[in-house]
């Protein structure tokens, strides 16, 4: 086992990772940009190294600074959190070349699965259902048109190097394809430095269901059940829960089995998430595989009792999985809501600013993962996630009532700060959500027909 771990991230996830490191008896090193010098993880960690200015390119994405910080503090391992360098195969490789363990899958696996077109092909080979679409990247607009014709509209164009809901465009008819093709490609080039795109059939009114997998380095793999993340706004998840409501045990078992099979097929090690689209007629197709901890991992922790960061670390340290599949026994229902510093009334524009008051909810079966506190200046440089609120209850109606209670308890004040708590409570109150019959179209429909009060 390591003695010192560096957390190459910021915000709530850096604190969350550092917490588990502390519990494992590991010394923890935080890295921070000058904007984060009073951040929660800086206060929490045993050591903190200032690595750069607020701009992520020169701080949280700056590989040499992070490697130097690790070497100078004697960190034997780096946990990348999510986002930033968490799925960068080059970073993982540089870590290993520098004698530092990257807490994540092998660089080769990150590279294979990070190429969404290649991942599609590999998984299809492993027998996982993938959506009808292009084989590999699209060479020309003509090829795109041909494939779209074959699979039928609507289709979705995706960046090969994308993921996490970014770099995608839905095309509903042939006349829009050419324009979308060029636009998506230009966007992919600008954002990911890789202009390759591919095409899949797009399913309307689908559900987003993903399976959490853990694999050790010795070929053992288990799944920790699934999460439903269908409440999304522009492909960004807002509410996640486990188990997925109204999912038949057979279908659940098939999805989980597929995820484990896929992970084993590529020699995965660490924590992976297999994201599936679930169609109204109960078919499921692989969308992508994430080679990192997910934002929404706490719901899985709440129902299984398993600390996913702990497992990531022990796997990276070379320990075999400490439990077998049959020992994973999910219990009850967990729901997570992402409270963002955004103004729903102004199209969810971020609202950075000083928090003059920040009192999170507490009490029975409520977990809050946040880096915020009274006096924290929410900066304009990073994403607007302020607090993940997670609740557990024996059943879904109780969990939803508990979440509504918890969200209502938040006291977040600041001269300019607005949050999404009210919006989330509205979403929770929608009849289709209460019934567990909602799809990824829920938020868009909310905008069309505001909820009835009373």
């Amino acid at each position: 086992m390591f003695t010192t771990v560096l957390v190459a991230n910021r915000g709530e996830i850096a604190l969350r990772v550092a917490r588990t490191c502390r519990e494992l008896g590991l010394r923890t090193v935080a890295v921070y940009s000058t904007a984060d010098r009073d951040s929660a993880v800086v206060r929490f960690a045993d050591r903190a190294v200032r690595i750069g200015p607020p701009q992520t390119r020169s701080s949280y994405l700056h590989v040499p600074s992070i490697i130097e910080a690790a070497l100078s503090t004697g960190a034997e391992a780096i946990h990348p959190g999510y986002g930033f360098l968490s799925e960068d195969p080059d970073f993982a490789e540089i870590c290993e070349a520098s004698g530092i363990t990257f807490i994540g899958p092998p660089p080769r696996v990150i590279e294979q699965l990070g190429d969404k077109a290649q991942a599609r092909a590999l998984m299809a080979e492993a027998g996982l259902p993938v959506l009808p679409g292009s084989t590999g990247a699209l060479a020309t607009p003509g090829q795109a048109k041909e494939v779209a014709q074959r699979v039928g509209y609507p289709v979705i164009l995706k960046a090969v190097a994308g993921g996490g809901g970014r770099g995608m465009a839905v095309v509903r008819s042939a006349e829009n394809l050419l324009h979308a093709f060029h636009e998506t490609r230009a966007h992919a080039r600008a954002v990911f430095g890789d202009e390759r795109i591919y095409l899949e059939r797009y399913i309307e009114d689908a559900r987003h269901v993903e399976v959490q997998v853990l694999c050790d380095r010795y070929g053992s793999a288990v799944h920790l059940g699934e999460r439903d993340c269908s409440v999304q706004r522009r492909h960004q998840k807002l509410i996640e829960e486990s188990p997925a409501p109204n999912l038949s045990p057979t279908l659940r078992a098939r999805m989980c089995e597929a995820a484990v099979r896929g992970a084993l097929a590529v020699g995965y090690a660490g924590a992976a998430t297999f994201e599936f689209v679930l169609t109204p007629d109960q078919r499921f197709y692989l969308m992508e595989i994430n080679c990192r901890l997910q934002v929404e991992h706490p719901v899985t922790e709440m129902v299984t009792g398993i600390d996913l960061v702990r497992e990531q670390i022990t796997i990276a340290a070379g320990l075999p999985l400490s439990f077998r599949q049959e020992e994973v026994q999910p219990r009850g229902v967990a729901v997570e809501c992402r409270v963002n510093a955004e103004d729903p009334a102004r199209n969810f524009a971020p609202t950075p600013g000083l928090l003059t008051e920040f009192v999170p909810p507490g009490g029975p079966f409520v977990r809050v993962d946040t880096h915020a506190y009274t006096g924290w200046p929410v900066g304009p440089d990073y994403d607007s996630l302020l607090a993940k609120t997670v609740v557990w209850a024996p059943d879904r109606p109780q969990a939803l009532a508990r979440m509504d209670r918890a969200l209502g308890e938040f006291r977040i004040e600041g001269p300019v700060v607005r949050t999404t708590t009210g919006f989330l409570r509205e979403a929770l109150a929608r009849p289709e959500f209460q019934a567990g019959m909602h799809t990824t179209g829920l938020v868009a429909r909310m905008a069309e027909e505001p909820v009835q009060v009373g």
Binding site: G52, G353, L354
Partner: protein
């Protein structure tokens, strides 16, 4: 000395209380002694200590002492915290400037082991002159002084890990002409 305190609420906006303290004071141009100043500073330290947050600003004027302590008060969107812990800019009071680390790495005084250091205390440096080397992932890059002046102190020992913007060398600008 009589002190009065009024806490009023402006009902028209229902917002914040205004506190007035009328303390009696002294006219004229009495000399402010060093002891006085120290007393003020101590008082400010105590005031700020009682506060959860570190202040964002302290202003202390000497003649007819004025002290201002300010905590982060947001206005409009986003006021990125001034990161000016260590910049190469001159400190207004002392006139000293600092050469700071541009990046995380290992700071070396000399081009190679055994060589004499680039600069020593007392040396005069020219703007742009190399004053040290930073090693970042086996890559060496030189560190130069932005301005000319005399080396007052070398703050970091040779072959030491440094943080981003860590102060390395103190330079006292030499008056021109």
């Amino acid at each position: 000395m009589t002190l009065g305190a009024d806490k009023k609420t402006h009902p028209e906006n229902g917002r914040q209380s205004v506190t007035l303290i009328n303390a009696h004071s002294l006219a004229g141009t009495a000399e402010v002694t060093k002891a006085d100043l120290e007393a003020v500073c101590r008082a400010v330290r105590e005031l700020t200590r009682a506060c959860a947050q570190p202040p964002s600003r302290i202003r202390l004027q000497h003649g007819r002492t004025t002290v201002e302590v300010e905590w982060p008060a947001p206005e409009g969107p986003a006021q990125p915290a001034p990161a000016s812990v260590a910049t190469a800019e001159p400190e207004q009071d002392t006139g000293l400037t600092y050469v700071c680390a541009p990046m995380v790495g290992t700071f070396y005084h000399a081009p190679e082991p055994g060589s004499p250091p680039f600069v020593s205390v007392g040396d005069l440096v020219q703007p742009g002159q190399t004053v040290g080397i930073l090693e970042v992932m086996k890559m060496m890059s030189t560190i130069a002084s932005d301005i000319g002046g005399r080396v007052v102190e070398i703050l970091v020992p040779n072959a030491t890990s440094v943080e981003y913007q860590q102060q390395l060398i103190v330079v006292e600008p030499v008056a021109e002409g």
